[in-house]
Symmetry: C2
Amino acid sequence: MALAHIIMTGLLDKNQTGYELAKSFDTSLGFFWQASHQQIYSELRKLEQKGWLTSEQVLQQGKPNKVVYELTDKGQIELENWVDASTKKSTTKDELLAKLYNLNDKNVGSLIRAITERRDNMLKSQALYEKIRSRNYPDPKKLPINKLGVYLALKSGIENVEIGICWCNEALVLLANIEERA
Amino acid sequence: MALAHIIMTGLLDKNQTGYELAKSFDTSLGFFWQASHQQIYSELRKLEQKGWLTSEQVLQQGKPNKVVYELTDKGQIELENWVDASTKKSTTKDELLAKLYNLNDKNVGSLIRAITERRDNMLKSQALYEKIRSRNYPDPKKLPINKLGVYLALKSGIENVEIGICWCNEALVLLANIEERA
DNA sequence: ACTAACATGTAACCCGTTACATGATTAT
DNA sequence: ATAATCATGTAACGGGTTACATGTTAGT
């Protein structure tokens, strides 16, 4: 049931469409949860049926019409209950590390390419997160309580990409040595 | 299809039962992939049907009989193709960070408890990983190629829990301040 | 001409979780 | 007594992925 609550979390600050929420899942929400637009649209309809959200059609010209969702009081109560309830452990699915278990002199090249690709992605994420940090959280000591949690989540993301990038660089050095010998 | 290949990876070194593989998913494989025993048993049967594994019944006394699986040549080829194929991005699902977005003076207490629990779990993981490191990888420079990949995966896990623990500690300090004021 | 952004959706399928089930042995 | 370890499994349900579908406007 977590996706439901994360979508509602995305609607705390401002009302949004499914499309906008999907974009959030590519950026800010994206470093701790992934969801496709199909999942989001279908979940939004379920949440409205439960009375946790309301929706409003907005007609547009030159663009498709859109549906803007808003959190209800009932939804807010549900969110609070979720926060207080027990929290599931975080999970990771990382094919790359599994592939590394299979390292040999025939597949070093493929693995070097995969690690390089990961590093490039992480560098992009890092740039994005740092931009958000310098814009919205230049002085973390002065944050009001309602922004502190978001800041902590961002910080976690930044720290993770940082060591992720270091790890990629170190791994690439080690694997480059092997490839030379082969 | 990744679970299939990760199970086969688990059978590279030695033949194992579903039960033993499930335990690996609680420890070594566990920091980059999670799977329940139900998933593992059903996947093992599928893999045997595809001819990527073979199985052998081992009768035991005082314990339930067990089924030991072995990787076939066909399975090894399949594994190699998987390593060379394109790698999916790693994904994370982390409820705790989502809950932090909802931080307010009423739920600080719950969040402090959740972060404390996470830190305790990470400390346990850290102890386990460090034990594995000191036992099997005391001198990483002298590792043969077939152990280097596993070492790199372990290193990634160790680095992740390390900064994870630091992050928890910092977060707890910040949230403790808020709780005092409330 | 082609691609990206905008905006939403259906359908089929596979993956993953939860609950339930069995039954002996060993340790606290 | 109670719980943990060993060892495997079924069934129901819900979550998530992949493929397909539509149609305009703005930029290269």
